[in-house]
C-alpha cells in the first residue's frame, strides 16, 4: 500500500508500515480488549510483511466469483494468547486442514471479524499462504460467538471448520447448525491451550460478495491512522465520525465501578458489571454503562440511549486515546462514543442474535423506537 498519512480510502495492499495503524483501528472496534500480547503479534506480522512483501488487499467484487475463500480468526482469550504465543504455523495449518477435507485450494483469505487481534491474523495467514486478503469481514466489529456473522444471516454455514491450538493439536467440526459449532468449539478451546487459530466459513467469492460486510479492513486502517495522528479529543471525535459515523453522546467523569454477581443470560459468556459516569457538561446526567465483555448499553438518567449492536467505546480525554475496559478508574474523564454497527445487525434477525435481548436487557433499542 502507498505511504503517507491521513485518510486513504480503500487500500490496495497492506505493508509493514501499516501494522501499527491496523492494530489501533482493530482496537477501536473492540475496545474491551487490553494490550496484552500486542508487541509479539504486531512485530511478528511486521517481520512477515517485510520478508514476504506487502499483502494485496482486494475488494471482494474484484476477485473471480469461483475463487475459494476462507475466514480466519483467533478463538479464545487474548490473555491466553499472550501467555502462550503462537508458534507461527497454527493459522496455515487450520486452513490446510479444510483444504484437505474439501479437496480445494483457497485463493484468498478474509477476516471473520475485522477487529482485535483477529484483524491481524488474516494478514499473517495471507502472507504465509501467499494469497490476497479480501477487504471484507463477517462482523464489522466483534461479537461474542462465531455464528454472529453476516454470512450466517445470509445462510452460509460456518462449517466445516478447523481449530488449531498453540500445542499443535486441532479440532475439526462439522455440524449442520451454526450455533452448535460454537458450543462444540468452546468446549475444546481450553484443552488446546486457551486459544486456537480458527479457519471457517469456506465459501467462494461469489457468495462472499453478497454475504460479507465490504471495506472493513480499509476502514480499521484509516481509523488507526486517525488515532495515531492526534491526541486532541475534539479532533479525534470529528475525524472518527467522518470515517465511522460515530458520535459523542456524553462527556463525564467515572463515579463508580460496580461489579455484580447477578444472574446472567447463559448464551453469552461474560461477567456483567456496571459503570456510573457523571456527565460534566450539558444536562449533568447520570450515565450508567453496562459492561459484559464489551459495552452493551448506555443509560442516561435511566433512559436507554444506546445499546448493542451499536459499538460503544470510551475515549480517555486526558490521554486522547481509547480507554480499554480493564484500565478504567473512578475519576477518569471520558467521552462516550457510539458508532452504528453495519445495517444488517439492526434487522430483526440480527437484533435477535446480537441485540440487547441477547444480553438480558428486555428493552426496545433506541434506534428502533
Amino acid at each position: 500500500m502507498s505511504g503517507g498519512a491521513g485518510y486513504l480510502g480503500a487500500m490496495a495492499s497492506i505493508s509493514a508500515e501499516d501494522v501499527p495503524a491496523l492494530y489501533e483501528g482493530a482496537k477501536f472496534y473492540s475496545p474491551a480488549v487490553g494490550d496484552a500480547g500486542r508487541s509479539s503479534v504486531t512485530s511478528w506480522l511486521a517481520g512477515l510483511l517485510e520478508r514476504n512483501g506487502p499483502v494485496p488487499l482486494m475488494r471482494v467484487e474484484s476477485v473471480a466469483p469461483d475463487t475459494q475463500c476462507i475466514a480466519v480468526c483467533v478463538l479464545g482469550s487474548g490473555s491466553a494468547m499472550a501467555d502462550l504465543p503462537p508458534a507461527g504455523d497454527e493459522f496455515v495449518l487450520a486452513v490446510r486442514q479444510i483444504e484437505r477435507l474439501q479437496k480445494v485450494t483457497f485463493g484468498a483469505v478474509y477476516p471473520l471479524a475485522a477487529a482485535t487481534i483477529s484483524a491481524l491474523v488474516p494478514v499473517v495467514t495471507a502472507a504465509q499462504l501467499g494469497v490476497p486478503l479480501i477487504d471484507a469481514d463477517g462482523m464489522g466489529r466483534t461479537f461474542a460467538l462465531i455464528h454472529h456473522t453476516a454470512m450466517h444471516l445470509a445462510g452460509v454455514s460456518p462449517t466445516p471448520l478447523a481449530a488449531v491450538g498453540p500445542t499443535g493439536e486441532s479440532v475439526l467440526v462439522e455440524v449442520l447448525s451454526g450455533p452448535r459449532a460454537d458450543r462444540m468449539l468452546r468446549a475444546n478451546v481450553d484443552t488446546v491451550g486457551g486459544w486456537a487459530a480458527l479457519a471457517a466459513y469456506p465459501i467462494n467469492a461469489g457468495t462472499l460478495r453478497r454475504a460479507a460486510l465490504p471495506g472493513t479492513m480499509s476502514r480499521i486502517t484509516n481509523v488507526g491512522r486517525v488515532l495515531l495522528e492526534t491526541t486532541d479529543p475534539e479532533a479525534l471525535v470529528t475525524r472518527l465520525g467522518a470515517i465511522t459515523g460515530c458520535r459523542r453522546i456524553a462527556r463525564g467523569r467515572i463515579a463508580e465501578l460496580e461489579h455484580l454477581s447477578r444472574q446472567n443470560d447463559v448464551t453469552i459468556p461474560a461477567h456483567p458489571s456496571s459503570l456510573v459516569v457523571e456527565e460534566t457538561g450539558g444536562l449533568g446526567r447520570q450515565l450508567r454503562i453496562e459492561l459484559r465483555s464489551e459495552i452493551v448499553a448506555v443509560f442516561a438518567d435511566g433512559a436507554l440511549i444506546a445499546g448493542a449492536p451499536d459499538l460503544m467505546c470510551l475515549l480517555d480525554v486526558s490521554r486522547g486515546a481509547l480507554a480499554t475496559l480493564d484500565s478504567l478508574e473512578p475519576g477518569d474523564l471520558v467521552d462516550v462514543l457510539v458508532t452504528p454497527a453495519d445495517a444488517v445487525w439492526y434487522s430483526p434477525e440480527g437484533m435477535e442474535m446480537v441485540g440487547l435481548s441477547s444480553h438480558g436487557i428486555p428493552l426496545e433499542h433506541p434506534r428502533r423506537r
Binding site: 463515579a255 463508580e256 456483567p272 458489571s273 450508567r288 443509560f299 435511566g302
Partner: protein, 507 residues
Amino acid sequence: MRSRPSTLPITLGELARVRPLAGAELHLADPARTVEQVVLAETFDRLRHCLPHELVVLHDEAATGGWSLAAALHLAWERNLSAVVVSRTVAGASSAALAERLAMSLIVIDDDPIEVALQLAGQVSAPAAARAQRQARIAEQLAEQTGIRGVLGVLNRELQGVPVALVVGEVVVAGQAAALAERPQVRQIEVEVHAAGERSAARMVAAVPVPGPAAIDQVASLLRLARPSLQAAWARSRLDAAARAAHEQAAFELLRRLETDEAPSWAAELGWQVGLHNRAIWLAPERPEGEPSDEVTYLIRASWQRGHSIWPLIAEGDGWISWHSAADPDDVTALRRVLTGFRDSAVAHRLVLGVGRAHEGVGGLMRSAAEARLAAHVAREAGAGSVQWFDQVGAAAALAWLPTTEIAQVADLTLAELMAAKDRAPLVQTVLAVLDAGGSLSQASQQLGVHRNTVLARLARARQLGLTYDEPGQRLALHVLCYALTTLWNRSAQPDRSRSGSEPSRP
C-alpha cells in the same frame, strides 16, 4: 381514639414510619406523596403498565441491579409513580443519586420483596390500621421520655415537616420556635397542658402545613397522646426546680452570713464556684412589683441557664442574682456572650441587668452583688433589656436612687412661676448644664450646642423665674431639682426606650 378514622390515602411519610419500611433505607423525594396502590413488578412490561401514584416493589427480572434499577427509576419517573422499593443487593449509591436527580422516592429494603409488597398492600388498602399502628409506636416512644425536651423531640422527629413547640405565655420553652410563626398555608393546632390543680400551665403548638404530609386530626391526636407524658415531665421538673430554688436560696443566705472569706465545701456540692474572682449579675424587673412568683423564677432560670447550667440563679428580693467566678478578674468574654444570648429573654420578660465588679472570695461576691444591684437600678433608666456595668456607673449611681417624681412635685410647689413658663424645659436644661460644668458658660454652651449669649440670656430669664442657681445656699437643692426634672422630662419624651437596649449614658 377517633370516632371516624381518616380514609385519606396513606402517604409515603406515614408508610415509612411503620413496619416493614420502618427500618428501610429511605430516599424520599416527597414524604407527602400519597400511595394509592402497591404493585409487585416482576418484569419491565409490568412496570410499563403502572399507573400514577402507585408504589412499585421491584422483584426478579425487574430487580437485577445495575442498569435495571436505573431503567426502572426512569420508567417510574415517566409513569409518575409514588416510589420504588428495591432490595439492598441491587441498590448502590449511584442509584440513590439517580433517584434524587429524578425526584423519585427510592426505598431500599433488606427483607424479601414479595413479603414487603404484601404487607404494604395491606397498609395501603387500610390506611387507618397503618395509622393506628404508627400511633401505638409513637405512644410507646413518648412513654419512655422523662423530660420535656425528650417529649418534644419525639414529636418533632415523628411529625416531620410539622414543627411543635411548648409555649408558656408567649415564650417557647422547648421544641421548635417555628411552630409559632404565622405563615400562609399553615394551620396552627394548640393543645393545653395542665399543671396540677387543672390550671393551664402551657400550650403545645404545632404548625401543620396544609396541604401537607400529616392530616390535621392526626397531628392533634398525636399531641393529645403526648400530653400525659408532658404533664408528668412538667410536674416533675417543677418539683425539682422548686426544691432546688429553695435550697439555693437558703445556701446563699448562709453564704452571706459567713464569717470567713473561704468558700465552704457545701458550695461546691451545689455546683457553685466562689473561690476565685466573682463577678455578680443582678437581674431585676424593669418595674419592681414585689417578690416574683415561682413560675416567673422558673422561666427566668430556664432561659438564663440555657447552655450554661452551672451558673446559679437565686431569687433575692425583687430580682435574681447570679455570678461568674474566674481566675482572671478582667476576663469577661464568657459573661458578655451570656449577656448577648440573654438579651431577647430579658426584653421578653422586661428585665434589666446590672453587672458588678470582680472581687475575690465570698466577701467579694457579696460586695459585687451589691454593686450589681446598684447598677441594675441605673439600668432601669434605659428600659427593658439594658445592661449596666458598675465600672461605668461609679458614684453617679447615687442619682439613680433619687425619687425624681417626688422631687418634681416639690418643683411644682416651690418654683410655680418657672413651671408655668412654656420654655421651662430649655431653661432647666441650661441651668443644669452650667451647674454640671461648674459654672463655666463656654463649656455649657458647647455641651448644649448653642451660643454663649443664648446661655447667658436663658440664665437671666431662669433667675427672673426664681431659679436662683448662683445663690450658694440654694445651689445643691436647685442642682438636684434640675436633674430630677430633666430626667423626668427625658423619660416622658421617650416613652418606649426598652427597644433601644443600649447602655445608659451617665445620668
